[in-house]
Amino acid sequence: MASINELKERIHADSSVEIVTEYLEIIEKSKLNAFITVAKESALLRAKEIDSNGHEGPLAGIPIAIKDNISTKGIKTTCASKILTGYIPPYDAHVIEKLKNAGAIIIGKANMDEFAMGSSTETSFYGPTLNPWDTTRVPGGSSGGSAAAVAGSEAPLSLGSDTGGSVRCPASFCGVVGLKPTYGVISRYGLISYANSLEQIGPFATSVRDVTTLFDVIAGQDPRDSTSVNREANYSSALINDVKGLKIGVPEEYFGEGTDKNVDRSVRDAINTLEELGATSIEVKMPNTKYALSAYYVIAMSEASSNLARFDGMRYGLRTEDSDWHTTFSRVRAAGFGEEVKRRILLGTYALSAGYHDKYYLKALKIRTLIKQDFERAFKDVDVLIAPTMPYPAFKLGEKIDDPISLYLADVDTVPINLAGVPSISLPCGFSGRLPIGMQVIGKHFDEAAILRTAYTFEENTDFHTRQPEG
């Protein structure tokens, strides 16, 4: 588990080729199934180039895993779906352009739930990813491959995407750090869309410092994503080991029924630790939290039913035998999408259809207003909110996959953040047996500085993030 700075020293002393080769060997031996595609040849080629060009750039020569819903020119991009069989993007996502300019080396494409729909990485067409801490358990999702790769030392850094918790959930289950930035801070250009009003790309690493370094590289406005915003900031300058005077809000709704007692205790202990370091905490009320899960799923499914209309077998991906126009599309889609994706498209279509639009979609959007107001009210009194990321540690493979509601309920503490568009970082704060527990630090719109500083201070004064899975 090497940090960016340690890797840089080694790259200067040895070479990027050597570092990349070491990671490729670990990936090859691994049984976690964290990757759908390993970009061995292009990674080594790029490492050689960087070695001969003198290691310029903040991530020069450092390998990174990319969630397989982020477009990478010349490298297969599948969204973990059969329907994108054979698809090779002819262009790079904005974040990939930025990573390449910074000297980073794409080592492979990380496994995920199909089209990012899931919280366990079990809906992948390419089989589930296993949790490095206990291979009978899920790594969380939907960015399970990205988190497992970092936790299992298969890559020092990775990117995921977070629509309703898909970065924070696997960060929590795999004991690594994952950030969901404010909506709009990172361009979504080249991110294959699931629910575009909710999702953001987010970085993973083993420390708050490395997550922040990666975040500094990939953030920024891009005219190709009209929802991206211009907030020039140097996030790394927020990393100060000091929380004196920080006001923490504790939303009791996030510690509700169904929260594991070890999770509850670890997160409250973490808040105590920050108080000992000079912060204060008060309870805050977020009364509309109980409607967040339903509102989230209605909105996400509705947007998905529209976004996934583009997969018709004409321009890319799977094509079945031709019949007439509509039948061909219907058959391509029936053959290419997995069950969870079909379920969400069907429910989203239903929620938007004549006669049901107001009852489901419009109602969910009104509740979204109430959720956002909950956050605005809370942030009048406090600087950050701290809560469990997930109500429990990683569950068993197969435990929830056949019961959609029980799987959706796992997202109860993560989805309100996406509905409100605020930033949140998940970091390790304890263990339940050998399974990591994560807490999330949530901030105001564009106040990444406050959550990064809080998370950094906690990390500097504890050692949860230094523990590693065995084997």
Partner: protein, 93 residues
């Protein structure tokens, strides 16, 4: 409550061919999710405006100037069926 007959219609709107077996399997599962969505009815949203987008931005314009784009060859490189520089679609009727 969705019936098997409704599901046939939703499948058509979604352009997803569903077999008899699929409809048998999906109907109760979709209904259990819809039951859960019943929670929404309990929220008082009288006079509350819908929130489509979290940032207060609309009509984001840019200059209409041509920029580099994909070549025809690149744009067609992923199409499973293409011919003479066109994507080949199925027949309409």
């Amino acid at each position: 409550m969705i019936t098997k007959k409704d599901l046939e219609h939703i499948g058509w709107l979604s352009r997803l061919e569903l077999s008899e077996e699929d409809r048998e399997k999906y109907t109760p599962r979709l209904n259990s999710v819809l039951d859960y969505f019943g929670e929404l009815d309990k929220a008082d949203t009288e006079g509350v405006e819908p929130l489509y987008h979290v940032m207060p931005m609309s009509n984001v314009f840019r200059e209409d100037v041509p920029a580099a784009s994909l070549s025809q060859e690149e744009a067609l490189s992923n199409a499973p069926k293409n011919q003479n520089g066109f994507i080949k679609a199925p027949r309409m009727m």
